[in-house]
Symmetry: C2
């Protein structure tokens, strides 16, 4: 158990240190057992000011979906502490990760008098974190950022590792920057209003960490999946912090995706991106596409003799218990292949995939024949 | 004297190492005495491949003004060496540093199949280097860049230090990234076609280095200014390399402008930006505005009792001998003040200026009364 909050009733927090030299930062995973929403906002303000003690101008960029539950209460709390606050809402949904929305944010920041001492506080899911993080990375050549993820997916995925960015037409995350936050606050109380489908979508990335590098965690998930489905606070804190620890280990080894190590986080994602792009962004939630993509990747590994059926069976069971989809009947195979050929993971024109050999271990495999890829897709339609 | 080129006739080169840890890079300053234009292009290709031996896809982003003299010959030379080349032209002029032009470049790069292994080669002045550098910093979260500055200003200023970016309406360089190049090639042969007014404009930044941190160089300039005006190859190589060394020393101490050391490079620039913004970008060349801004800054230093008249006299003489403007009769003082108040160097609302105490030494001075600033402007109208 980690140090307790100074000013609030006893609560349970885990602090995860992401080691990146002079870009290191802390993720605070807070449970909600003994706090109410008001106390959680006070605690967030405490946590922010504890790390950023020189804060004088907070720039809150929040997803419109959490405006009344998180952004506006935090704005009032910080204003009450004599901090200047500028706030803007970001429309929900992947379409906000566009050049147009980025340009709108940049110009709004200019009009709000944002300068290099200002601190951006990004509140929302992956879309908000990616867009606001990229705006922060580039405005005045880089502002400090606090990420407050409010979806399970963004708590366990995009809040760790510093990837920020936007989409170009037909190319997800094609423009962006590596930009590490100064602090991440993952408070499970913000998940209370998250729709079931979005919550479950986040479980796909949680399960991914078990497959790629933490077999004990995979086993823990097999035992505790029902508690997680029911959003039990203790189970959630454990799942979020073990996922963040897993990602932090990988990112710490390979911050800028140069050694290949970081690529293992893309398990299931080459298929998933192709699914999302051909289905039209927004048809499937990202985690749903990742669940299906993990199934395709596991089948590809089996076809190449790299993994056995038991791996796929255990993965399938956990995904099904989580109510995640494991098939994509509408697959447009030629369309998916075309997308995969221009995936950023393609090097020198050859398809590469992250494939498991056993639960807890994956490898980056290059030069894969397209016929195997097609068969892996067709195994899950 | 540095190592000679392997495949070409004897030439004179200086190699400047910019020390930035794992982001260190080399600036090659090439003279033109014994090479013609064709040989210079061959030499550039050699220099690029020597540093980037794994180059397979070169993305040439060149100012339209040097398309026929540099970009197209280099494209042919690299293509002849079996390297895939994609090339796009950037319209000349500050208006290219816009969100619209950046978005156009990003989408063109996507259509050209640019991926994370591609290397951007930016050819042109500061506008091209800043825009292409920022596109490279952000496309696929960062591509390697070779900067080939083709103006004196960009050789001695923007090619060192990794600042890239674009303008927002009314706010120069408000969006951008620190993104270090892999290699800079400053070949004075590319200056042959540079108009006199642009060439002279670059001398303002050269003189700046003497004032801010290299008194010996300032003295060298006083002795050699006529050779420089006449674009003598040897004098040029000396002036470019000493300027780059000066900037590299400062940038090496403070890569991201956090310690305050790097701010000294902005000597004259707070006034200059205000002059440029109120005159309308493009009325004055940047170096011309810097020359006037240095005069205003020197007068401000004198008014505050920080420098003596002799400093201003020596600076004035060198600027006049260089045919640089030293007055700005059209100054819109209230407009300039408004711009200065929102300058990125403003912190907590107080005006700060880089002011000299003697030739070769400047200091960052904060909390300056606006009446002194107004008087300093009015001393040079």
């Amino acid at each position: 158990l980690e140090p307790q909050s100074k000013t609030l009733p006893t609560t349970k927090e885990k602090h995860i240190h992401v080691e990146l030299g002079d870009r290191s930062y802390k993720i605070i995973v807070s449970g909600s057992e003994v706090t109410n929403a008001t106390q959680a906002i006070v605690r967030m303000a405490d946590q922010i000011l504890d790390v950023l003690s020189d804060l004088t101008h907070a720039v809150i960029l929040g997803d419109e979906a959490v405006a009344s539950s998180v952004s506006e209460p935090l704005e009032r709390e910080l204003s009450g502490r004599k901090i200047r606050v500028s706030a803007a809402q970001i429309p929900s949904g992947e379409t906000s990760k566009s050049v147009a929305e980025l340009a709108r944010l940049w110009e709004w920041m200019l009009s709000a008098g944002v300068d290099r001492r200002s601190v951006v506080i990004a509140i929302g899911g992956g879309v908000t974190g990616d867009l606001a993080g990229f705006a922060a990375a580039t405005y005045a050549r880089g502002l400090r950022v606090v990420q407050i993820p409010t979806t399970l997916l963004s708590m366990v995925d995009s809040s760790v590792g510093g990837k920020t960015g936007i989409n170009l037409p037909g190319a997800k995350n094609m423009v962006g920057a590596f930009w590490q936050p100064s602090l991440v606050i993952a408070d499970s109380i913000t998940l209370n209003t998250l729709p079931d489908r979005e919550y479950v979508s986040g479980l796909a990335e949680v399960i991914k960490y078990g497959v790629i590098e933490d077999p004990d965690f995979f086993h823990w998930l097999e035992v505790n999946i029902q508690s997680l489905i029911c959003r039990d606070s203790g189970a959630l804190r454990e799942a979020i912090s073990r996922s963040c620890e897993s990602k932090a280990r990988v990112v710490g080894d390979d911050e800028r995706e140069t050694s290949g190590r970081r690529a293992i986080l893309n398990y299931g994602h080459t298929f998933a991106h192709a699914i999302e792009a051909t289905a039209g962004y927004g048809q499937l939630l990202h985690g749903e596409a990742v669940a299906i993509g993990m199934q395709m990747a596991a089948s590809l590994a089996i076809a190449l003799g790299r993994a056995d059926q038991n791996l796929l069976d255990r993965q399938t069971r956990l995904l099904v218990q989580s109510n995640l989809p494991i098939k994509f009947p509408e697959a447009n195979v030629p369309g998916m292949l075309e997308i995969m050929r221009r995936d950023k993971k393609v090097e020198y024109g050859k398809l590469r995939f992250v494939l498991p050999t056993k639960i807890g271990h994956v490898e980056l495999v290059g030069n894969i024949d397209e016929s195997h890829v097609v068969a892996a897709i067709q195994a899950h339609v």
